[in-house]
Subunit: 170 residues, 2 copies
């Protein structure tokens, strides 16, 4: 590979760009400013991204530190989200309903895995990953989840429509 040992913290005459400091912003005001900058940077990237090809579909949703929502969408946030959610006729949502919010805001019980995952393969593996690997792993999981969801959806279509079937999972 290439060594990235360009550690020189003593550099301070700099008009130059500072090395990325990936840590939490201390003061709230700094956070706000940084948030705006980074958000703009991100949206700009996204904008360029969408110019790469015609039928690009991209959406970004972000909440500010004060919970104010900002979004970028091409051609439109809702369009992309709907596609992602697989809801083709999103005009009127709220048709079918399992009437059970099982996803929970990231507080899904770990027992799900801890008790059923014999040996806890993931526990062992994750421990040995470095930061970079973790980042990739995290992204991979997102994709994996998408694929599984896809699979589920297809499976569901193929079979007799039994949505009660899923009613109680968690």
């Amino acid at each position: 590979m290439q060594e990235t040992e360009l550690v020189n913290t003593t550099r301070r005459w700099g008009t130059g760009r500072k090395k990325v400091e990936m840590k939490k912003i201390e003061s709230k005001s700094s956070l706000i400013v940084t948030f705006c900058k980074r958000r703009n940077g991100l949206f700009k990237k996204a904008s360029e991204f969408c110019n790469l090809y015609d039928d690009a579909n991209l959406a970004i949703i972000v909440l500010s530190p004060n919970q104010r929502p900002y979004s970028f969408g091409h051609p439109d946030v809702n369009t992309v989200v709907d596609q992602y959610l697989g809801d083709q006729e999103s005009s009127e949502r709220n048709n079918i309903s399992c009437s059970e919010d099982t996803r929970g805001k990231n507080n899904m019980d770990c027992d799900n895995i801890n008790e059923e995952g014999e040996g806890c393969w993931w526990e062992r593996s994750v421990e040995d990953m470095n930061l970079e690997e973790l980042e990739k792993f995290r992204a991979s999981l997102e994709t994996l989840k998408n694929n599984v969801a896809m699979r589920v959806r297809e499976e569901r279509r193929t079979r007799v429509s039994t949505r009660d079937f899923l009613g109680g999972f968690s």
Copy 2:
């Protein structure tokens, strides 16, 4: 991890980054490669973004030129989307995504993760799982992703090498 090929007889030197020609990509193959790169760049930005503060909420959804879905989410795509939509009754749709049949493989380099296992857990299982198992698996992935995300943030914060983390999570 991966061997760095130092062997190179005919080193064809890259022409370097071209001028910022933000036009439609001509060839499909170029588009695909560029898509991949820019997506990684975008997700990386997003990743950094999320480390600015703890309760960051950010989601990105993008479809590849071939309509394959990719997403980045912190803490989770659906969480952010739900907040954005303010739709609390989306449980029926919240986990289902995309319409194309790309069943099966994900992009995870599992060699990094499960070296000792004979056959990759995910490859082995997802194909053979029934709907019920898939749903559980999906839920597990959700949890796992959150855990990894947590781990990543923790790592970033402390800048300490892999420590015994998972033993005491949640």
